[in-house]
């Protein structure tokens, strides 16, 4: 009799393990897989998974938030302009969905909005820098008003300055100031809670190394 019960218990345990799908775990695993690879195909695969996750756990703001982040992020690596705009369109939709679930904007959603604006600008910089550059700055300012210690504000600003030509006040030296301001703020962050986004730390370090490297300009 005991054996039988153990058998059933084991079977039940096996069954539940096969089917248990923890949203947090899945989201975290997929997001980290997305963020740590530089290969476009691998990124696309994880980004597609994030879309599925957002669709399945539709009521969670985090799934939409990270899905939006992945779409904006991957748009930079896509070559076809129309597809890039389509990625950014989806990033916008998903971000707006996250905000409507949250009920209002917070510093992270504004930071994500700035990132989306920058992704939109990057598709056709020459014709879009005026409109989306302005939106980018406005969103970072709004994020700063809510939480001035959010490192991603300075990280994104640093990237924008890094790619701005030197004659317009950009360049590595000017950008370094922002990355260095972000660095200690990144160091303070925990990296376990998906409801408190922590992306950007690794890339920030990469950019600092770039800025400090040989400046041939």
């Amino acid at each position: 009799m005991t054996r039988y019960i153990i058998l059933i218990a084991m079977a039940a345990f096996l069954y539940s393990n096969c089917h248990a799908q923890n949203m947090q775990e899945t989201l975290k695993k997929t997001f980290i897989a997305f963020d740590t690879t530089q290969d476009f195909d691998k990124k696309l695969e994880q980004s597609n998974k994030l879309s599925m996750i957002a669709k399945k756990w539709n009521d969670s703001w985090e799934t939409h938030y990270y899905n939006a982040y992945s779409k904006a992020s991957i748009s930079y690596m896509e070559k076809d302009e129309k597809k890039r705009d389509a990625f950014v369109d989806e990033a916008e939709r998903e971000r707006d969905e996250a905000v409507s679930i949250l009920g209002k904007e917070n510093d992270e959603t504004y930071v994500l909005a700035a990132m989306v604006a920058n992704a939109r600008l990057a598709v056709d910089g020459r014709n879009r820098w005026q409109k989306y550059g302005k939106i980018f700055e406005e969103d970072l300012t709004k994020a700063k008003e809510i939480n001035a210690n959010n490192p991603r504000i300075y990280y994104l600003k640093g990237i924008s300055v890094f790619f701005t030509p030197k004659m317009f006040g950009g360049g590595k030296k000017a950008a370094l100031n922002y990355f260095e301001k972000a660095e200690p703020l990144f160091a303070q962050e925990q990296e376990d809670d998906m409801s408190k986004p922590f992306w950007g730390k690794r890339a920030n370090g990469y950019f600092i190394a770039q800025c400090k490297g040989e400046d041939k300009e």
Binding site: D41, M52, A86, D124
Partner: protein, 724 residues
């Protein structure tokens, strides 16, 4: 005994084994491939079971494979960024192989059809052909917006006559509109025979729309064209701008508050260094100098509204030796002293309401005074204008909108020459309505009608307008535009007490435009018929157009026509960092108007006009090089000894100009150093000849042949100390 035990054990583990394999059996593997409507694989497609996270990404051959625990009736979905979502029902009772999912390529969003017949827009939204910055950097334009428009189709090159001459019309037929209100003195005052620049600085505007015909019911009283200038909204940041060049020095600043901004400019011009270096064809015994300033206040009371208030003031003096119009001898000059003062002020308010309404109202006042001395005889010209516009646009649906509004204008001119005086006051009312309807994505129609009433002429008119656009293919479109246009005759007739009727023109324009990948091609053809043109019945033709004393009968028996074809090609893509456009215009026009003896091609029109504008940015040197070449065929001029009126043609016009802009940042100051040469080859462009009583001809020349211009501009953008 042991055998029995093993047997019993087997039986006990059998359910477990069955359960284990059952859960393995619970996983089904789905595989297949994703293709598009042409059978090509769609790599990167996300294939998954709806409402689950079971799925995979298709590889480069479109093949996918994933496992799932789901069973029974399911829907398998495929999504990919360049294709429409696809899905199909499947039944899972085990592995499913060889699935084929077909995806349709995304029906590309057709860009809205935009009616382009008769108009070229320049603004920052990327959908237009030109940007404001393109205009400013055009070589030969000397940063004058209106002069830069002379590189576009439909215009004429002018160096001796002031204004914009569009498709056969003279300068009075082109109106310059700033923020919805007509600018009465769009150009500076200059002595006769010297073309003046426009009063507007290019950087004041966020957009320019140049219409060469068939323009909206919103405007009237211009037989040929309307140039719409839209001033900047709130500046992005507080800035300070300082500049010095061969014409003078200027300073401007803007201070940005939360929802408002204050801007001011001040400038002083003295052309001594400029004319000192150049050989002028005109004798400046008093080199032009003057100055002025402006102030602007911008306020956004809410997210969708904006109020702008501005005032400009300027004063200029010059002393020029001009050919004596009355003298019988060639080469005799008289002294023309000129002091011009001008004040312009306007207030405008635009408010969008819930994306359903756009309300706009604006008012302006201008005053202009020319103190002139012809040798010893003084002349005093004064004119002023007050106007008001109020309009509303109703966005009924995303496909239909309706505009309606009204305009009120009051202007007066007065002239006092020696003991002769003349003046008039005019009040005009206008009402207009225009609909914008896009029943389908690829077709738009814009009918409109404008009603105008002139008090001084006691005349009213109804001017219908119509424009349509049809998309052809993904990137091309056809459009047509037309309508009737009315215009008061030149003020000089009204000043002397004449009260003729309004002049009239009817336009028919058709064009084809193709825009793709930063390349634009435009082909346009038009026919304009003129009637009721002002005509003086005099015994002899006097070519002098300036302050000519008008006598004899004046009526509206003049008429004419203008027809032509134009080609415009712009390319920002083929050469990296380079941008160029080519514009060619052909015109066949004749008119009998003013004191003309017969219906002929007027002296301000050249049959062929070709403009080539090129800009190249050398990244390594942070330098932009702009080159412009203008060509115009000979234009008619009056030769008294030729029995055929206006049959002579001047030599051809060639002008090659080059400007170089160097960009640099010194600490926080963004600096632009610019240098330019106009008419590099020093080509002696002659616009015609004047004859004296003895039959000697003297050439009508521009003020300068080759000229050099150098300057530097510093701008400082407010550095927010809290930014870091």
């Amino acid at each position: 005994m042991i055998k029995n035990f093993t047997l019993r054990l087997k039986w006990q583990f059998l359910p477990l084994a069955m359960l284990l394999s059952a859960s393995a059996l619970g996983q089904s593997v789905l595989s297949g491939k994703v293709i598009d409507d042409k059978g090509k694989p769609v790599s990167g497609a996300s294939v998954y079971l709806d409402n689950t996270i079971d799925g995979a990404t298709a590889d480069s051959t479109g093949v996918f494979k994933f496992s799932t625990d789901e069973k029974g009736a399911q829907t398998i979905m495929a999504t990919e960024v360049g294709h429409e979502n696809a899905g199909m029902p499947i039944k899972i009772t085990g592995d499913v192989k060889d699935l084929v999912i077909k995806m349709k390529t995304s029906a590309r969003q057709l860009d809205e059809v935009v009616i382009s017949a008769g108009s070229i827009e320049a603004s920052g939204n990327g959908k237009t052909v030109l940007q404001t910055l393109d205009i400013v950097t055009t070589a030969g334009a000397q940063a004058d917006i209106v002069k830069a428009l002379q590189t576009l189709p439909g215009t004429q090159q002018q160096a001796t006559q002031t204004g914009l001459f569009v498709r056969g019309g003279d300068a009075s037929e082109a109106a310059v509109v700033v923020d919805g209100l007509t600018a009465q003195n769009a150009f500076l005052s200059t002595p006769p025979g010297v073309a003046a620049r426009s009063r507007f600085g290019a950087f004041q505007f966020k957009g320019v729309a140049f219409s060469s015909g068939g323009y909206s019911a919103r405007y009237g009283q211009a037989l040929s064209s309307v140039v719409e200038l839209n001033s900047n909204d709130l500046p992005d940041k507080s800035t300070v701008n300082l500049g010095i060049n061969m014409a003078g020095a200027y300073a401007s600043g803007s201070k940005l508050y939360k929802n408002s901004a204050v801007e001011g400019t001040a400038y002083y011009n003295n052309l001594t260094p400029f004319y000192g270096l150049a050989n002028t064809n005109v004798d400046y015994y008093k080199v032009p100098q003057g100055g002025g300033g402006s102030a602007k206040y911008t306020w956004k009371p809410n997210k969708d509204g904006i109020v702008k208030a501005l005032v400009n003031y300027s004063k200029f003096t010059s002393g020029t030796g001009i050919p004596d119009p009355d003298s019988g001898m060639a080469g005799k000059t008289l002294n023309f002293d000129l002091t011009n003062q001008n004040v312009y002020s306007s207030v405008s308010y635009q408010q969008n309401l819930k994306d359903k309404w756009r309300l706009f109202t604006a008012g302006a006042f201008s005053y202009n005074q020319d103190d002139i001395k012809w040798d010893t005889i003084p002349m005093l010209n004064k004119d002023n204008r007050a106007e008001f516009r109020a309009e509303a646009k109703w966005y009924a649906t995303s496909r239909f909108s309706l505009l309606f509004g009204g305009e009120f204008q009051h202007f007066s001119y007065s002239r006092k020459y020696g003991y002769l005086t003349g003046s008039f006051d005019e009040t005009q009312f206008a009402g207009y309505t225009e609909a914008d309807w896009s029943p389908v994505n690829w077709f738009t129609i814009k009918p409109g009608v404008r009603y105008e009433h002139s008090q001084i002429l006691q005349q009213s008119d109804f001017a219908p307008r119509l424009a349509m656009g049809i998309k052809s293919g993904l990137y091309g479109q056809f459009s047509v535009a037309g309508g009737m246009f009315y215009q008061l005759p030149d003020p000089q007739y009204m000043i002397y007490g004449y009260r003729p009727k309004m002049q009239e023109a009817t336009h028919y324009i058709a064009n084809y435009q193709y825009m793709h990948n930063d390349r634009t091609l435009r082909v346009e053809a038009y026919y304009k018929s003129y009637s009721d043109l002002i005509r003086e019945h005099v015994s002899m033709f006097d070519p002098n157009n300036y302050y000519r004393y008008i006598y004899g009968t004046v009526d509206n028996s003049g008429y004419g026509y203008a027809k032509g074809a134009e080609l415009f090609y712009r390319d920002k893509k083929t050469v990296k960092n380079a941008d160029f456009w080519v514009s060619y215009s052909y015109i066949d026009t004749k008119r009998l108007f003013k004191n003309y003896e017969a219906e002929v091609q007027p002296d301000f029109i050249a049959t062929h006009n070709l403009n080539i504008v090129a800009k190249y940015f050398i990244e390594k040197l942070a330098t932009q090089v702009n080159v412009t070449y203008n060509y115009a065929s000979g234009r008619p001029y009056y030769n008294p000894s030729n029995p055929v009126f206006m049959a002579d043609r001047s030599p051809e016009y060639h002008n090659l100009s080059l400007t170089v802009n160097y960009l640099h940042s010194i600490k926080k100051w963004f600096t632009v150093v610019y240098a330019g040469i106009d008419n590099i080859t020093n080509h002696k462009n002659i616009f015609g000849y004047r004859y004296d009583n003895a039959g000697n001809a003297y050439a009508i020349k521009p003020a300068l042949y080759r000229s050099v211009f150098v300057g530097v501009n510093f701008s400082l953008t407010a550095f927010d100390k809290d930014e870091l």
